[in-house]
Each structure stands twice: as structure tokens, then as C-alpha cells.
């Protein structure tokens, strides 16, 4: 569950970074939606950083590899952009819950916001192999923050891009096109990963169509393994009671309509 992994590649992807490391055991066990915790060596930092697993390869000259995609927005993630290829990172994982696969063939709509699209590629591979049709909506603030549009186009049956500044695809947010895409594709299930306000809005649209919807959330997390109780989300049980559940161990994948978004700081943007 903890390994010191050699970095195979480190490269920029528009505004983001992509890091691929050799981790045969993690690659073999990982499921889409799960994450890894990577130790960072920046001075004064203490805690590992969580990263959604963007892609795994099971074979090849380096054994199995794991890719993560991230935005270098703090000292820890900035440090990660400086580790040279063939250097090592200390990784714990795979951790957390994963996206469930439908038990009969259907069309799946995958929605990714910002670097949250990365785990959608992993999910897309798994769903496609399971005989599903996959359509995608990929959104970001601007074209520079649309991660790996080529892979998106190659992986899914159709891809709709949205940018808030109109620099790529439709102008607006993923939720502005979501209803049209649902009408067109007749998708029977929705999966999403991205900023929590986006997940709240996606969950609401899926709920109004009575579609199952699974989202991978992001909350401040100290440990990633279930001991610190910092990363909780309010989750509504079947009997209506709301309990604070840990994103790291009960999540990060939750059923969208089970999240009591109105009790979060992202409000009832749903």
C-alpha cells in the first residue's frame, strides 16, 4: 500500500502537470475514482497530497504505471513539478471508493471539470471495455485548462467541450450543455469529477431527470486513510438522516443525490 516509485514522465499539459510513475501493484489494483497520496518534500510541508488516478497501464517496459494530473497551486504541488524523471516519489494507495459500473450495457455520460477530467479517462477505458457507450462533457475556465482534448476525443463516442471564456467549444459551463447532451445521447447514468460546485449542479440536473449520478468529491484532507476526520461530506442515508462521511474512505465517489449539498459551503447551488 506504500511504495517508493520511479517517475517515468513529468510533463506540462496546458495549465496542468501530468506525472507518471512506475507502481505495478497500484496499477494492478486501482479502480477509476480512487486516489493516491504522494509525499512532498517542500520545506515546511508535512502532509501528503491526494491525487485522483488519471490512468493506469498494466504492462510495458516499466511494469505498471500510474498517472496523475494536477494544478501546481501550492508549495507541495509545485515541489512535485521539480522532481526529475527517474527520481522517486513516496506513494500510498490506491485509496478510497471507486465509480461503480452499470450491470447492463447502456450509454454513460462522463463529465469532467478542469483537471477533474483526468480520472474520467480511466473510467472511460473501464466502461468501454465493459461494453458501454461513453459520451463526455469536458469543461474548464479556458482552453489552456482543457486537459488532453485529443485523448477525450479518441476515447469517447462524442465529446462536448465548454469554456467559460469561449476560447474552446461552447461558451459556458458543463451544466449549460448537460441537458442537451442527455437528450441527444439518451444516457442512462452520469459520472462526474471536478470542482464541488460543478458536482452539486450536475447532481441536481441528474436528479431532475431521475438519472443515477456518481460524483468524485474534493475536500481538504490531511491523511487520506480515514484517521483524521477532516475530509467529511454530509451524506443523507435512506432514512433521511445526514451523517458526516469521510471522503477518503467512504468516498471520494458518492451518489450525487445522497450528498446534502445544502449543508455544505457550496450551498444549494444545486
Amino acid at each position: 500500500m506504500r511504495s517508493v516509485c520511479e517517475i517515468i514522465s513529468r510533463r506540462r499539459s496546458g495549465a496542468y502537470w501530468s506525472l507518471t510513475f512506475s507502481a505495478p501493484e497500484i496499477a494492478q489494483r486501482a479502480l477509476p475514482g480512487q486516489f493516491v497520496e504522494i509525499a512532498v518534500g517542500a520545506p515546511g510541508t508535512l502532509l501528503r497530497r491526494p491525487f485522483s488516478i488519471a490512468r493506469v497501464t498494466s504492462q510495458g517496459p516499466t511494469g505498471g504505471t500510474v498517472e496523475v494530473v494536477f494544478d501546481a497551486h501550492g508549495p507541495g504541488t509545485e515541489w512535485l513539478t521539480t522532481v526529475p524523471e527517474h527520481g522517486t516519489v513516496d506513494v500510498v494507495g490506491p485509496l478510497g471508493s471507486s465509480f461503480p459500473t452499470p450491470n447492463r450495457p447502456m450509454t454513460c455520460l462522463l463529465i469532467g471539470g478542469g483537471y477533474g477530467v483526468a480520472p474520467m479517462f480511466f473510467l472511460c477505458d473501464v466502461l468501454t471495455k465493459a461494453g458501454m457507450r461513453v459520451d463526455m462533457i469536458v469543461g474548464a475556465a479556458d482552453a489552456d485548462r482543457i486537459h488532453d482534448a485529443i485523448t477525450a476525443k479518441r476515447s469517447a463516442s462524442t465529446v462536448t467541450f465548454t469554456t467559460e471564456d469561449g476560447s474552446m467549444g461552447e461558451t459556458g459551463r458543463v451544466t449549460d450543455v448537460m441537458r442537451d447532451v442527455l437528450d441527444r445521447t439518451k444516457a442512462g447514468v452520469v459520472y462526474a469529477c471536478g470542482p464541488n460546485p460543478m458536482l452539486a449542479a450536475v447532481s441536481a440536473i441528474a436528479a431532475e431527470r431521475d438519472l443515477p449520478c456518481q460524483v468524485a468529491v474534493e475536500e481538504h484532507m490531511a491523511c487520506g486513510v480515514g484517521v483524521c476526520w477532516t475530509c467529511v461530506m454530509p451524506i443523507r442515508a435512506k432514512d433521511g438522516t445526514v451523517r458526516m462521511k469521510r471522503s477518503c474512505i467512504d468516498g471520494p465517489v458518492f451518489t450525487g443525490r445522497r450528498i446534502a449539498w445544502d449543508q455544505t459551503r457550496w450551498g444549494a447551488s444545486a
Binding site: 507541495g76 491523511c223 486513510v225 480515514g226
Partner: protein, 319 residues
């Protein structure tokens, strides 16, 4: 000045056992309450029965859902947290978590938290009717409803009242009073709780801190204030443990904690006066942190010829 070259001894000759009151533990490495959840989470990484003891996350009379998020933020060499004592409540803990810990061979120190003397008494009375709990740690860093929300551990009277109430229900069990460093004189609180019947002291709890986002002006955690932990507070912890040890004397056991990560940190805490050393925030960064210290401490002592923790405890060489 030269130092005598230590004569190494075999690791097997190192005795790591420690006692709190009448109870002996195989080694001094334990977990800081709230940093090890129920125990089951970390048991996926290593056999938690190897630890000297597991101090579990504080339990209250009723289940608690805790505070809104964000609950944590990283700070220089540390972190701030405000969880709000989220826990399943004493009844669920006794029914579910305690049997798991016993099945796994863990020695159990239960941390109890209440908002009144009566709540602490209720918790102690439930403990008194249960087998399988080795010791109790009394989390005195809780707001005291009868004292306008001031935490018990900030004043001698309320702290002593809680300890007396707990001792009343648990005449023989080791009772460790967990103290906050946010007081003018921690030794005064320490003396009061020992006189009230505590077996020993756990120190230190987190120290209150705050962080503000420069752009938004918002506090970085929803509760505004949070407990600061990690290496940032280790010198405070070493100071507090040393003061408590020298004031209360060697017969009063202390569980020392605050930013301990390495073997050297552990030895430092023992030299300051700790009988056991609890690992807290280090577990967040590395789930194996506490486990690694058991073997690490044994090796460190063997290499230097120390057969017993008594060689180290409270040993501070004056300048």
C-alpha cells in the same frame, strides 16, 4: 569535551516495557487521540497489536457529527484542525470499536470527553461496567458548559472536579489527564489533577491557532480557530513535559506528545520525562509512522547500550 563511546547491546536485551499506574505495556509507543480514529483504519497497514497501546479518538456520551468543513489546513511544519469531536458515542464505541481492538490484540486507552462533570462521570461509570479497557485518558480540553464554555483544562478547580468524578467510578484504573498547553502554568493544572486522583498526565493537546486566507480574508478553517499540531509545536511539548516531570516527580507517568516523528524526537520526549510517547500528526503523513518507531527505538537504544527506558527517562544533562 569527549563522550564515552557507548557499548552496543543485542536488541533482544532492550526492555521497552513501561507502566502507567498498575498496568504494564510492552513498549512506550502509542497514538495521540484523534489521530488514529478507531484503530481499524490503520490496522490495514500494520498490526496495531504491536503498539504499546492505542489511544482512540475521544468518545462522548452521545454520537456527534462534528463541525462543518473545511476542518483542516496545513501551516508551516504543522496543521490546524477543528473536527468538533465527531464520534459514534460511548454506546456504539463499546459495542463495535472496543471488540475490534481487543480481537486485534491491541491494548486500549479510551479517551473520554464531556461538556460537564456529570457527562464525564457517566462515561466513567460505563467504562467501569466494561472489561477490556486498560486505561482512560480524560480529555480536559473540552468546553465546560457550566463555566461559559471555558475549557476544563484551563483552570485547576474544574479539572480537579472532573478527575475526582472519574476516579470515583474507576478506583483502580490508570487515569491520564490530558492537558492543554494554552495556560500560564501547566504545572499548576498538573498538580491539581494529580491531587484529585489522576494517575498521570497526557501532554500536550494541540495549541489554539488561526490562519486567514490573504485574498478572501476568510479563516482557512470553518471554525475560525483550530488546534495546531505537528513538528511546529514539538518544542512547546518538550518544554511542557519537562516542566511537568520535574514538578510532579518521576513516580507520575506522563504520555508525551506533540510533533513527534522520528526516533530522535521520541528519545527527546522520553528525556524530557515521558513514560510513553504518542504519535499524532505524523500518522497523517505516514500511516506507518508509529509502527516504525517501535523497532527504531529498540535499535537506537541497543546501539547505545541502553537496556531500559529508565536509562533515558527524565535524563537531561545540565549545561
Amino acid at each position: 569535551m569527549t563522550r564515552a563511546t557507548p557499548t552496543p547491546i543485542p536488541e533482544a536485551q532492550v526492555d521497552l516495557s513501561v507502566t502507567l499506574g498498575s498496568v504494564t505495556f510492552a513498549n512506550p509507543i502509542t497514538t495521540a487521540s484523534g489521530c488514529f480514529a478507531s484503530g481499524a483504519e490503520i490496522d490495514r497497514f500494520f498490526d496495531i497489536g504491536d503498539l504499546g497501546a492505542v489511544v482512540v479518538k475521544s468518545v462522548t456520551p452521545e454520537p456527534r457529527e462534528g463541525l462543518p468543513t473545511p476542518r483542516m489546513t496545513e501551516t508551516p511544519s504543522g496543521m490546524l484542525n477543528a473536527i468538533g469531536l465527531q464520534n459514534p458515542g460511548i454506546d456504539a464505541w463499546l459495542a463495535r470499536d472496543l471488540p475490534f481492538l481487543r480481537d486485534r490484540g491491541a491494548r486500549v486507552i479510551l479517551s473520554i470527553a464531556g461538556k460537564s462533570v456529570e457527562e464525564f462521570a457517566l462515561l466513567a461509570s460505563k467504562v467501569s461496567q466494561t472489561r477490556g479497557i486498560d486505561a482512560v485518558e480524560v480529555n480536559l480540553s473540552c468546553p465546560n458548559v457550566a463555566h461559559r464554555g471555558l475549557v476544563f483544562a484551563c483552570s485547576t478547580g474544574p479539572s480537579a472536579d472532573v478527575i475526582r468524578a472519574v476516579r470515583n467510578h474507576l478506583p483502580r484504573m490508570p487515569i491520564m489527564a490530558k492537558l492543554t498547553p494554552d495556560v500560564t502554568d501547566i504545572t499548576a493544572i498538573g498538580r491539581a489533577v494529580i491531587e484529585a486522583g489522576a494517575t498521570g498526565i497526557s501532554a500536550i493537546n494541540t495549541t489554539l491557532g488561526m490562519a486567514i486566507d490573504a485574498d478572501t480574508g476568510r479563516p482557512k478553517i470553518a471554525n475560525t480557530f483550530g488546534g495546531l499540531s505537528g513538528p511546529a509545536i514539538r518544542p512547546m511539548a518538550v518544554r511542557a513535559v519537562h516542566q511537568l516531570h520535574t514538578t510532579l516527580g518521576p513516580e507520575v507517568p506522563i504520555i508525551g506528545m506533540g510533533g513527534v516523528r522520528t526516533v530522535e524526537d521520541t528519545v527527546e520526549m522520553i528525556r524530557a520525562g515521558a513514560s510513553m510517547v504518542a504519535i499524532g500528526t505524523a500518522t497523517f503523513a505516514d500511516p506507518f509512522a508509529s509502527h516504525r518507531l517501535i523497532g527504531g527505538l529498540r535499535r537506537w537504544m541497543a546501539d547505545r547500550g541502553h537496556a531500559s527506558l529508565q536509562d533515558l527517562r527524565g535524563r537531561v544533562t545540565p549545561w
